[in-house]
C-alpha cells in the first residue's frame, strides 16, 4: 500500500493547542512521526534578559495558560534562591495551597480534553464545570481567574481573604465526591479502557533516556516527584503519596493523574489546616538594585512534570543575564515520535493527549 504523510495539526481538535504532529502512515499504521512546534514562540527567555525581575514577573503567568501560578511560583523561588531570601512560613503554606489548586485545575482540563479525544464528551463538560469551582477560589484569592500574578519575590501578594478557608475546604469536599464520578465515567467504561490500555506504551528505560518527567514518567513506573526528592516550600511537612503506573500506557497516565487530583485535594486541606499566622511577605525585604553574580538551577513539580529555571545573575544589573526555562512538555512532545511507531491512526489523539500539551509553555 502507498504510504503518505498526514498533518495532525496545527489546527486539529486533538492537538489542544497550536502544534503539529506529522505522521507517515501505511494504511492505518503509523510508520514515522515528526513533531513541529514553535508556532507560539514569543522569545520569553530573551525578553527576560531585557527586563528587571519585577517587570518580568507577570510574564511568568503567561508561560502556561492552564497552570499559571505554578510557573510564577517557580520563578519567584529561583529569584529567592539567588537573593537568599526566605519567604515567611505562612506565605509558603499559601503558595502550596495555590500550587495544589492549580494542579487540580490543570488535571481537570487534561482529563476533560483526554475524554473528549476519544469521544467521551461528558468528561469535558464535567472537567470544565469542576475546574470553574477552583477558578472561583482563585478569583476570591487573587482577583483573577487565570492570570493571577499572585506570588511575589519574598512571599505572596496578599493574605487569604476571611472566607477563603471555608470555601476552599468545601470545594475540596466537593472534589472528593466528584472523583469517584470520573472513575465511574472513565475508569469503568469499557470503551475508555479499550481506547487507552496498551496504547502509546512508553517503557521506563526509554522514558528516562528521553527525559520524560512528571505523570509521564510515573505512569511508566518510577516513583519520582520533585516535591518528594527535593522538597521545596513546606512539602516535607505534608503527607502525600506519589501514584505510579506499571505499563506506561494511556490508561496509566489517566490513573496517575486522577490519583494526583485526590492527593492535591488532601494537600490543600493539610496546608489550610496547618497554616500558621504571620506575615505573607518577608519583612523589610526590598529588591536589590543589582543581582548577585551567581547561578541557580531551581526545580519544581509542575502539573506536567519537572519544571525548572536556570537563572544567571551578572552582578552588574537587576536583569537576569540568562534565564533558561526547562519545560516538561517540550520534552514530552518531541519524544512522541520515539514511541508512536506501530500505533493505529485512531490512537494518535490519545497518544498526543496523554502528553498533556500546553503550547505556551512548550514554545515559550
Amino acid at each position: 500500500m502507498t504510504q503518505m504523510w498526514i498533518n495532525m495539526g496545527p489546527q486539529h481538535p486533538s492537538t489542544h493547542g497550536l502544534w503539529d504532529l506529522l505522521v507517515r502512515v501505511d494504511g492505518e499504521t503509523i510508520m514515522e512521526a515528526q513533531t513541529k512546534i514553535g508556532y507560539l514562540h514569543r522569545g520569553v527567555e530573551k525578553i527576560a534578559e531585557n527586563r528587571t525581575i519585577e517587570k518580568f514577573l507577570p510574564l511568568n503567568d503567561r508561560l502556561c495558560y492552564v497552570a499559571n501560578s505554578s510557573w510564577t511560583t517557580l520563578f519567584t523561588m529561583a529569584v529567592e534562591d539567588l537573593l537568599e531570601v526566605t519567604p515567611p512560613e505562612r506565605a509558603q503554606y499559601i503558595r502550596v495551597v495555590v500550587l495544589e489548586l492549580q494542579r487540580i485545575a490543570s488535571h481537570l482540563v487534561w482529563l476533560g480534553a483526554y475524554g473528549a479525544d476519544m469521544g467521551l464528551l461528558t468528561m469535558i463538560l464535567w472537567g470544565w464545570r469542576d475546574r470553574e469551582i477552583i477558578l472561583d477560589l482563585f478569583s476570591l484569592l487573587t482577583g483573577a481567574r487565570i492570570m493571577h500574578n499572585f506570588p511575589r519575590v519574598g512571599g505572596v501578594r496578599n493574605d487569604l481573604p476571611p472566607t477563603f478557608k471555608d470555601r476552599a475546604l468545601k470545594a475540596m469536599d466537593y472534589m472528593d465526591q466528584r472523583i469517584p464520578e470520573y472513575e465511574d465515567l472513565c475508569g469503568r467504561s469499557e470503551l475508555f479502557a479499550m481506547r487507552t490500555r496498551g496504547i502509546g506504551v512508553l517503557p521506563l528505560e526509554k522514558a528516562i533516556s528521553l527525559g520524560c518527567t512528571g505523570p509521564m514518567l510515573r505512569a511508566s513506573g518510577l516513583e519520582q516527584d520533585v516535591r518528594k526528592e527535593e522538597p521545596y516550600l513546606v512539602y516535607d511537612r505534608l503527607d502525600f503519596n506519589v501514584p505510579t503506573g506499571q505499563n506506561g500506557d494511556g490508561w496509566d497516565r489517566y490513573t496517575v493523574r486522577l490519583e494526583e487530583i485526590r492527593q492535591s485535594a488532601s494537600l490543600v486541606r493539610q496546608a489550610l489546616n496547618n497554616m500558621p499566622e504571620g506575615d505573607v511577605m518577608a519583612p523589610g525585604f526590598k529588591m536589590p538594585k543589582v543581582l548577585p553574580a551567581k547561578t541557580i538551577y531551581r526545580r519544581a513539580e509542575d502539573p506536567r512534570g519537572e519544571g525548572a529555571i536556570y537563572l544567571v545573575g551578572d552582578g552588574k544589573t537587576n536583569r537576569p543575564y540568562r534565564l533558561k526555562i526547562r519545560s516538561p512538555t517540550y520534552v514530552h512532545l518531541l519524544a512522541i515520535p520515539f514511541y508512536i511507531k506501530g500505533a493505529r491512526m485512531s490512537d494518535v489523539p490519545v497518544i498526543m493527549g496523554g502528553a498533556d500539551p500546553c503550547m505556551a509553555e512548550v514554545d515559550r
Partner: protein, 223 residues
C-alpha cells in the same frame, strides 16, 4: 486527623534537620562522584560540591561525551536540561544532570569558542538530549556534532540569526518609538527642501477637494 499526622511528621523532620546525612545519602554520594571526577586529570578541570544536593564541574569540551557517560553510569540518569550561556569571551554549554536514586544534581560546564561553536553531541548517552541540543542550536548556533536531527525547532527554518546570543540586540518599545520618530524627523527634514519648489504646482489639486487627489468630490459635482 490529617493535621496531627502532618505536625508529627514536621516534628520529626525538624528533629533530624541538623543531623549529618546517612552513609550513602547525598553527602556520601557527592564525595564518591568527586573522587571519580578527580581521577580524570585534564578532562575535568574543576569539580566541587556547591550545596546539599548540588555539584559543579568544568569539563574540557572535547571529552564531554566520556564524562557524561561516566556520570550516567554513576547514577545521573536524567538529563534535566542542556543549555548555553553566552559570555562575550566564550560560550558555555551547560549540562544539568539529576540522579533519581541519590537525589543530587550536577552541573557541567564546557566552554567553547563563540566564533566557531562546536561540541560533540551527547545523544548517544541520552536519546532525549537531541531535543535540548536542537534548542541550543536554534537559539545559540552551537553545532552539536553527531546529533541526528540538528535543525531549527522553535524558529522558522529560514532564519539565519541566533537570537539568544548577546550580539543579537533587542530594542525596547521606547527605543523603538524614539528610533521611528527620529527616522520620521529625518525623512521630513530631507523631504522639506526638496518639496518646497514642488509644493506650488501641487497646491491646485489639493484645493480641488480630497487630500489624496481623488477626482470630483460629489459635493462639487451635484449642482
Amino acid at each position: 486527623m490529617m493535621g496531627t499526622a502532618a505536625t508529627q511528621k514536621a516534628g520529626e523532620e525538624n528533629g533530624s534537620a541538623g543531623a549529618p546525612p546517612a552513609a550513602g545519602g547525598p553527602g556520601g554520594f557527592q564525595q564518591r562522584v568527586l573522587g571519580e571526577l578527580g581521577r580524570l586529570q585534564g578532562t575535568v578541570t574543576e569539580s566541587s560540591v556547591t550545596g546539599p544536593r548540588r555539584m559543579l564541574a568544568k569539563v574540557a569540551p572535547d571529552k564531554i561525551v566520556e564524562v557524561c557517560r561516566l556520570l550516567r553510569d554513576a547514577g545521573f540518569e536524567h538529563l534535566s536540561a542542556l543549555t548555553c550561556v553566552d559570555y562575550d569571551s566564550e560560550l558555555q554549554v551547560i549540562y544539568l544532570l539529576w540522579s533519581y536514586k541519590d537525589r543530587c544534581l550536577i552541573e557541567l560546564r564546557a566552554a567553547i569558542s563563540g566564533a566557531e561553536p562546536k561540541i560533540a553531541s551527547v545523544t548517544s548517552v541520552w536519546t532525549g538530549a537531541e531535543f535540548h541540543e536542537r534548542e541550543a542550536y536554534d537559539m545559540f548556533g552551537v553545532v552539536f556534532e553527531g546529533c541526528p536531527n540538528l535543525k531549527r525547532v522553535l524558529l522558522p527554518d529560514e532564519w539565519s540569526v541566533f537570537p539568544l546570543r548577546k550580539s543579537f540586540k533587542v530594542e525596547s518599545i521606547h527605543e523603538k518609538r524614539k528610533r521611528i520618530e527620529a527616522e520620521k524627523a529625518k525623512a521630513a527634514k530631507a523631504a522639506a527642501p526638496a518639496a518646497a519648489p514642488a509644493s506650488e504646482p501641487a497646491q491646485p489639486p489639493k484645493q480641488g477637494g480630497t487630500p489624496d487627489g481623488a477626482p470630483a468630490p460629489k459635493g462639487g459635482g451635484a449642482p
